[in-house]
C-alpha cells in the first residue's frame, strides 16, 4: 500500500473519512460492548497473569478439534508456574507445571464458575466444554495465577 504525505488538509480529511467509513458502525458497537469488560479486571496485586504462549490451533496443520483422540493444546506461562490445557470435544484436561496440587476455578464469561481440585501431580479434568471465552485460576500453596482469556 502506497504511503501518503497528507500535506493537504482536504486529502487528510478525505482519507480519515474513508478509514472511519470502513469500520463504522461496527466500531461503535464494539466500543459499547467493551465497556462492560472492565468488570473482569483483576485487582489482586499478588495474582500473576499467565499469558497464552502456545496454541496448537494456531497452526493450520493441527488436527481438527473434536476428532477422537485429537486435542487442542494451550499453554499459559506465568513466573511461578505454567498451566497446560488439552481441549477435546467433551472435556478439558489440565496440568499445573511444575506439578503441584491446587484449587482450580474455570471462569466463563457467562454462567457460574466451575471449581475443582488439581491432584498431587497437578492434574485436573473439566468434564463438559464451556462455550465461548474462558480463563483458569490456579491457587497453589505458594502462588495464585489466572490465565489470559481464551476462546474455546
Amino acid at each position: 500500500m502506497m504511503t501518503r504525505r497528507w500535506d493537504e488538509d482536504e486529502e487528510l480529511l478525505d482519507d480519515l473519512a474513508a478509514a472511519m467509513r470502513d469500520v463504522d458502525p461496527t466500531a461503535q458497537r464494539v466500543a459499547a460492548a467493551a465497556e462492560g469488560l472492565y468488570s473482569w479486571r483483576t485487582v489482586d496485586q499478588e495474582l500473576f497473569l499467565a499469558s497464552l504462549s502456545f496454541d496448537s490451533s494456531a497452526h493450520a496443520t493441527s488436527p481438527v478439534r473434536g476428532d477422537a483422540g485429537d486435542a487442542r493444546v494451550l499453554v499459559f506461562d506465568a513466573a511461578p508456574l505454567s498451566v497446560e490445557l488439552e481441549v477435546t470435544a467433551d472435556r478439558i484436561t489440565g496440568q499445573i507445571i511444575p506439578p503441584s496440587p491446587g484449587e482450580i476455578v474455570v471462569e466463563a464469561e457467562s454462567g457460574p464458575p466451575v471449581r475443582l481440585t488439581a491432584d498431587e501431580h497437578g492434574f485436573f479434568v473439566v468434564t463438559g466444554l464451556p462455550t465461548g471465552r474462558i480463563r483458569v485460576r490456579c491457587d497453589t500453596t505458594t502462588s495464585r495465577v489466572v490465565t489470559d482469556w481464551v476462546v474455546l
Binding site: 504511503t3 480519515l16 478509514a19 466500543a31 465497556e35 497452526h59 493450520a60
Partner: protein, 208 residues
C-alpha cells in the same frame, strides 16, 4: 488555550488504577483501529466483533504494560492480528480448503516487522491510531468534520460550542496536531524519498 497534550497516557494510568470511565474512553478511541485491523482477515461481521471483544478482554488485564502511549496501537495491532488469525484458522480447519485459493492464503498473512518496530504501512491504521491520541476537543471536531452525511458549521457549533468563525482555524490546528502524532508521522516518513544534496553526491565512478 488549546490543550495540546495527548490524554492517552493519563487515561491508561487511570484505567489501570480503577477508573472505569477512563477505560470507556480508551475503547471508544481505539475500537476503530481495532476493527480496521481485524477486518483485513476474512471473517464474518459476527466474528469481527467477537475477535474484538477477545482483544479488549485481554487488554483489561494488560493495562499496566501499556503505560507508554506509543505501546497501545502496537499492542492492539499485534494482538488483533494474532486473534483474528486464530479465528480464521479454527474456522477453516472445519472445512476443506483449497491452498491455491488466494483468499485462503491472504487470510493467513501476518506481516510482522522484523525489527519489532511497528511501521504504519497500512494507511488506515496510521490514520485511526493518530486520531485516537488527539486531545479531546480536536478529536471531537475532526469526527464531526468527517461525519456522513456532512454537518454544517452551524451544526458543529451547536454541538461543540466552538464559535463558527473559529472552526476553520481549530480544524487547521487539529490536522497539524494529527500530522505530528507518532503513527502518522511514521507513515509519512516511511514514504519519504532519501534526500540527496548536490555537494555529497556519490556516483558509481567514485565508489571503490
Amino acid at each position: 488555550m488549546e490543550d495540546d497534550e495527548s490524554p492517552i497516557t493519563t487515561l491508561v494510568a487511570a484505567a489501570a488504577d480503577g477508573n472505569a470511565r477512563a477505560w470507556s474512553e480508551i475503547v471508544a478511541r481505539y475500537s476503530p483501529l481495532l476493527v480496521g485491523v481485524i477486518r483485513r482477515f476474512r471473517l464474518s461481521n459476527a466474528e469481527v466483533e467477537d475477535v474484538a471483544q477477545t482483544v479488549w478482554l485481554r487488554a483489561v488485564e494488560h493495562l499496566a504494560e501499556l503505560r507508554e502511549a506509543r505501546a497501545i496501537p502496537q499492542w492492539i495491532i499485534v494482538t488483533a492480528r494474532r486473534e483474528a488469525l486464530r479465528q480464521v484458522t479454527m474456522a477453516r480447519r472445519a472445512q476443506p480448503h483449497d491452498p491455491l485459493d488466494p483468499g485462503w492464503s491472504a487470510s493467513l498473512q501476518t506481516s510482522v516487522d522484523p525489527d519489532d518496530r511497528l511501521i504504519y504501512a497500512e494507511r488506515h491504521d496510521a490514520l485511526l491510531a493518530g486520531l485516537a491520541e488527539l486531545p479531546d476537543r480536536q478529536r471531537e471536531l475532526i469526527l464531526l468534520l468527517i461525519a456522513n452525511p456532512p454537518l454544517t458549521y452551524e451544526e458543529i457549533h451547536r454541538r461543540t460550542g466552538i464559535p463558527i468563525g473559529s472552526i476553520g482555524p481549530t480544524r487547521k490546528r487539529a490536522l497539524e496536531r494529527l500530522r505530528r502524532t507518532e503513527p502518522i508521522a511514521t507513515h509519512r516518513d516511511a514514504g519519504a524519498e532519501p534526500v540527496r544534496s548536490g555537494g555529497d553526491r556519490r556516483d558509481d565512478a567514485t565508489l571503490g
